[in-house]
């Protein structure tokens, strides 16, 4: 019982660390496109790890399946919404930051 608690706590801590990394990237990166890199990737792995922590804590019940379903849905939907936003910005002509430019 104790081992399960420790393992799930490790997963939760790793997930929240990755979420903090994504947030720092959202604030720190210089333009819209690079910010999408930070959020699109860090949030995907962060929510997978936090949900895995919950799954390990829960054991195998029907709630586990719903949790994995949320995770799998986000794994499909996250890249799709990232792609939609990138295409919208690119089509409307938002300028791309090159190295040495001013922050946008």
């Amino acid at each position: 019982m104790l081992a399960i608690d420790v393992i799930s706590t490790i997963f939760l801590a790793a997930g929240s660390l990755i979420m903090i990394t994504g947030t720092v990237g959202l604030l720190k990166f210089p333009d819209f496109y690079t910010r999408m890199h930070a959020t699109g990737k860090c949030d995907t792995l962060g929510q997978i790890l936090i949900i895995l922590g919950c799954v390990i804590y829960e054991g195998f019940t029907f709630i586990t399946i719903k949790l994995l379903l949320v995770s799998a849905f986000y794994l499909l939907a996250g890249p799709a919404s990232t792609h939609a936003l990138m295409k919208a910005a690119y089509v409307t002509g938002l300028p791309v930051w090159k190295k040495g430019d001013k922050r946008m």
């Binding site: 939760l12 910010r35 919208a88």
Partner: protein
């Protein structure tokens, strides 16, 4: 074993607060849309964690519905920003 969930919930709530800086001050429309998208993602995880804190795992159903609605909302806003109109005749 409620303490780790409480800590994770507080951390995610703080990151949502920090993200709302980008949503309020971020230059241009698209930075604000990204911030709203990220807040939506974090809110899904926060709903699940809150469900464990108050020991009511049926919050997961709400999290599932919120995931679907946030996805559709992001797609609609992106398409609107791309075309400038919602449906073309």
């Amino acid at each position: 074993m409620i303490l780790p969930f409480l800590a994770v919930g507080i951390i995610i709530a703080c990151t949502i607060l920090v993200c709302s800086y980008r949503a309020i001050y971020g230059p241009g429309t698209f930075n604000r849309i990204v911030a709203a998208n990220v807040i939506g993602t974090k809110a899904i995880v926060l709903l699940i964690v809150v469900g464990y804190i108050i020991e009511r795992p049926h919050f997961i159903d709400i999290a599932l519905m919120y995931a679907v609605i946030a996805f559709i909302g992001t797609i609609i806003i992106a398409k609107y920003a791309e075309r400038g109109e919602l449906c073309s005749r």
